[in-house]
Symmetry: C2
Subunit: 324 residues, 2 copies
Amino acid sequence: MLKKKGSILSVREDIRVLDCTIRDGGLVNNFHFSDDFVRGVYETCVASGVDYMEIGKNNSPTLMSEEEFGAWNFCKEEDIRRIVGENNTNMKIAVMSDIGRTVKEELLPKEDSVVDMVRIATYIHQIPEAIELVNEAHAKGYETTINIMAIAKSFESELDEALEAVSKTPVDVIYIADTFGSFYPEQIRMLTEKYLKVAQDSGKQIGIHAHNNIQLAYANTIEAMMYGTSFLDATISGLGRGAGNCPLELLVGFLKNPKYKLRPILKFIEEHIVPLEKELDWGYSIPYMVTGLLTEHPRSAMKARAENDTEYEKFYNSLLDAQQ
Amino acid sequence: MLKKKGSILSVREDIRVLDCTIRDGGLVNNFHFSDDFVRGVYETCVASGVDYMEIGKNNSPTLMSEEEFGAWNFCKEEDIRRIVGENNTNMKIAVMSDIGRTVKEELLPKEDSVVDMVRIATYIHQIPEAIELVNEAHAKGYETTINIMAIAKSFESELDEALEAVSKTPVDVIYIADTFGSFYPEQIRMLTEKYLKVAQDSGKQIGIHAHNNIQLAYANTIEAMMYGTSFLDATISGLGRGAGNCPLELLVGFLKNPKYKLRPILKFIEEHIVPLEKELDWGYSIPYMVTGLLTEHPRSAMKARAENDTEYEKFYNSLLDAQQ
């Protein structure tokens, strides 16, 4: 039986807040953020006590087009340093590696990079390749995480097998990722129990990456936290693909550790997010709710939003038809 | 120790969905809805299997201005009948009575009214008057609820005393109302345990009325439900004061009882809510988050929204100053 870890008032020393505004937000605009914006996120995260900032993906320019995607899809060392310099702060820098889009040999040794953590996003069928990358990144000196995607549509027995395999690697953190934004708090609790069991037996920690398709990103994040999840992903104003993520301002507003500060985030929102909301579309809306309820990838909802399609009943019917 | 009632897949026969789109939404536009809109909500609720529709407040025209407030602030019998006729449906009609704004003698005997339920909104210090009204409404033949407001700012001992007093009345349902939209799921669970204990001992049921200031209206509603709350308030698209309420479409999307239907709600949203969103402002935003985090009434946030004030850091500081 899963027990609560700490109370609503306590400071949990194991908690790590990970901002992925640029990385998940990059999925909204193909990573075309201005340096000014990225620097703003960086400075805001440092000022608000965030523990890790994920600054983008380290996809290979040999596999994805540098014409189509902005700098933060590739995270070249010189681009990161242009923003963070030597990063002489208490905050660590993370990048995400997509299995199938990353070339592991391109990863610099840690001593040549300001990156501290490599987060590996993998589907269950790619686990062997993900493990190779964990080993490579670990050998080169990085902290690592594995984020197993699309688990709402995997057999539980296969997830168990994947977790078992991952637990034998040197990975530091295993993430519960709610790819379709479809999980309810009850399910998050069940997953937390499952992941924690595997992680604790092998001396690892677990994390949560939630999406807001059915308005539960924040609720699911604090639910997972309450039962022992340590790494908590969030983005400023929930900026992220589709319905977006757990809003950093809500998470920091909840956490009781005085090192976390709300004001810098509010300041960033008024200066950078208010204008951005006029340009980019993200956050909860009916199409995302429909894909979330049906455990579907949000891409059809993103299309509906882009086309300003508000024929919601038809949209729902078309997704139901596609499932039959 | 509180136990889960049913699983995520089960049908709970005690569940009652109560739509309060017009009543809570009326707080956004002083109850100036067109008949067409109110009829649309009514027909949508009937078609989607909603159990109760709260059509407005029954405030007294002797106490509030009929020039300033629309028909649904008063709910005269002829106005309700213009929309619902004899209401020959399975759905019941509710109205809300605000203590201090209602004249109990104006309440018609049930046999002269299509209203089925009177919901009494009361602050803790008004409980004796609320009990008088419960008795009056019960004697006249109505189902009744008591919704104790602002409990986040009450002493727990006074709340216990109020619940004890309410449990001795003929009231049918006691509501947990999250007036400031400030409760976390953990606190909702604690309140559910407290309310259930009192209600079960006296043969009553409990309900939940949530607000979305910190994006937890839906999460708190399903949390309360999971532990035995039967009456669940929701509004279409969350339409309601400030950050709004638990969205009916999410709740109906979650419930497994096949009598609840999502399609009519989606249809109503595309036809009536999409245009309304261009006229009225409601739903989660930073000012509401700030008032929710600080357990403050949302009125300052409503003012900031009305004035298009996006100086969020200043807004936060001003509320902190006011608390000191």
